[in-house]
Symmetry: C2
Subunit: 433 residues, 2 copies
């Protein structure tokens, strides 16, 4: 395919994408396929000769779409949101075209420098303490990781390296193995200090945990993967209080801030804690500026060597929405979850199981876990909406997460009517038994 | 931005992308900017109010492009290639629109199943032993990782878990810490068993290493990050001989197989070795099919939880190029590197420093390291082409890697004339001193 054909096919694909997203509400949110559905629909090996774009795009509708769970349907209330916005998609097209691998400053200066500035912009939106920002000469700074898991692992490895060096400096006789044996990582039953857990969006109190970590010289990593986006609204910012005690902080704009996956934002107070742990300097990656102290080589901040130009997505989204637009978006989702919460409260058969702070409502039928498992089974078999459950203490609970960019009050109302109807059927069927 | 505006802006972006790639040859391959160039060109914080797409796209040319190293310029001969093709870009647009997070089969069955089948297609292209393929009921299979580093880490963790369990089964009294202390990972000075090292594209002999690993029950991970793509050509397949001894194998289609970053292909002989090491099963990720043995939940195969629908890129590329098209592409690059090698041989001032097997030529001026450092300095300051160096034994060596999808014989010839001219200047200047 040459540039000429790409101009044509690319525009067709833009229309396909717009059609898909405009029409996603009309598609069944969860697919009908059974495991193994796809293999028999494809040849057993790649074709020897080229096929046409038409062949492939036809197969997208015929083979792929029947097996897609539509995360951007306004009837998708499962897991947590994953971000999707047109500005981010436009930026991703540009990212693919530039196609640079930004492992060092020299590998593409714009890729590195835009990331540093965008992480400062985002940090300021959250009112992160200035010590986390790079600024012109700060010791901290931000980096885009692929996922919160990677950010946690990076923090853990950095903490390990730091404490090992510290102990070895104090007692040069200590071997790494001896130290390793004695290292302890503390975590709650939801892992590391978390703002907005996956199960029920609960919050650790950093103002309690933080001072203890500081006193004991324990690396504090704070994970706000989902909830972090909400901290751009002043009314939710208090949930982040105490972050000043953390060594590293992370949240996922690719969840709730309209920046398509992957974009996990991580800040550290001392960038040398990361670069000290991961520094990798073969001669083919050296460049004339690297020892000047002026530049950032992001390969020292992460596990993989390669990295895409992901900050373009942040830049496009921040500018095309503006901070106010992003705040409006977050507030709308929170308002919709409270709307659903109010509906649950109105029906005495149901109960809300955890405080609703942001965009997640945990609820259940009053009664046994079995009853609630049966209700979820009916909901997900009907495939009009899609939910997933969680366990809170020993209770089986349904999670209703506001996810889609296009979800409106009408969808929430319809979803609730649907759930109520299924509950009525279920309770009726049980009475008959 | 709504769907209507996206249709318009998306098509403009398609043209921008096509213009950029058609015109990239005319842009200076390496930028003129100095560290810190970008920050003063941007506001200190994100705008409160939305800005227009026009504002942003103007800034792309004004602010971003002057700081880009153009990896897809036919005058870019640095590092290794990073893949770029129009079919992959089209697939990425679709991937962004579907925007599913494929951590489990249920999270989007098509995302999981297409990946498994594409990894089988690719494995067959490489004539990997059948034991690495998933097929209908195989014990092995493939997974797309983000990078070769992640694949190596995953292999290492899987190996560690496997040996720990083995030893604990034999001696139940052994603690994990005692075992950990005694574990050894063997690596060469280029890390793990490598087919096509970064410095000079040298090859470990798997037929020597493999049987020893098997005999000693050592996990053998083989990394062919760059070179792996070439194994789709029968004439290069022998370089992969001995892979039958490996437990895991990895290479990066995102380097040399026209599948845009990121797409690192990894296969294992026993998928349970991975899933045993990484299994994560909170209730909100459980689904009704997961214990049926029929399905794959890729979150157990990798470090992060989230994952994009990356197999779409493979599907589009394999079908729109066909195996023959991909082979032609690889062969053209290898032929160009041999053309450059022949040119170097013709000039008695230069020497070729390592066997040219695939698309990389390591060469230098006969003489001191200082002389060659000076030559590289002149080459990269002139910014007509871009190269990076390496050290081979104690020699400072220049790497000439065939990278761009659009590089032709004429570019290689021009690059060589340019290098020769700079060498003549340099040697002349030295004589005068």
């Amino acid at each position: 395919m040459n540039a000429h054909e790409f101009r044509r096919r690319g525009k067709e694909m833009v229309d396909y994408v717009a059609d898909y997203l405009e029409g996603v509400e009309g598609r069944q949110v969860y697919p009908d396929v059974e495991p193994g559905y796809l293999r028999p629909l494809l040849p057993t090996a790649a074709p020897q000769e080229p096929e046409t774009f038409e062949d492939i795009i036809k197969d997208v509708e015929k083979i792929i779409m029947p097996g897609v769970t539509h995360w951007h349907s306004p009837y998708f209330f499962a897991y947590f949101p994953t971000a999707s916005s047109y500005p981010a998609m436009l930026a991703d097209m540009l990212c693919g075209a530039i196609g640079c691998i930004g492992f060092s400053w020299a590998a593409s200066p714009a890729c590195t420098e835009l990331e540093t500035v965008m992480m400062d912009w985002l940090g300021k939106m959250l009112r992160l303490p200035a010590v986390f920002l790079a600024g012109e000469a700060g010791e901290g700074g931000g980096v885009i990781q692929g996922s919160a898991s990677e950010a946690t692992l990076v923090a853990l490895l950095a903490a390990r390296t730091k404490v090992t060096r510290c102990l070895q400096a104090a007692s040069p006789g200590l071997t790494q193995a001896t130290i390793m044996e004695k290292l302890v990582a503390y975590a709650s039953d939801q892992v590391v200090a978390t703002l907005g857990t996956t199960s029920c969006c609960s919050f650790d109190n950093l103002l309690e945990v933080g001072p203890i970590c500081c006193e004991e010289d324990v690396w504090l990593h704070v994970d706000a993967a989902y909830a972090g986006s909400a901290f751009i609204c002043p009314e939710f910012r208090h949930l982040l209080n105490g972050v000043e005690y953390a060594d590293s902080f992370n949240f996922n704009p690719h969840k709730w801030l309209l920046v398509n996956f992957d974009c996990s934002a991580m800040w550290v107070k001392k960038r040398t804690d990361l670069t000290g742990a991961f520094k990798l300097d073969p001669v083919y990656l050296k460049h004339s500026h690297q020892d000047s102290g002026l530049i950032t080589d992001y390969r020292h901040w992460q596990l993989p060597l390669g990295r895409r130009f992901r900050s373009l997505k942040m830049w496009f989204v921040f500018r095309m929405y503006g901070v106010k637009g992003l705040q409006t978006y977050i507030r709308k989702h929170v308002q919709l979850s409270h709307e659903f919460e109010a509906l649950v409260h109105q029906d005495p058969r149901f109960e809300v199981c955890a405080e609703v702070t942001l965009g997640l409502v945990c609820f259940r039928l009053k009664g046994s876990n079995k009853l609630n498992e049966a209700l979820l089974e009916r909901i997900n078999s009907a495939k009009k909406i899609h939910l997933v459950p969680c366990h809170l203490r020993d209770q089986f609970v349904l999670r209703f997460a506001i996810c889609s960019r296009t979800v409106e009050s009408a969808h929430v109302q319809l979803a609730w009517e649907h759930i109520r109807g299924l509950a009525t059927d279920l309770l009726g069927a049980q009475k008959e038994e």
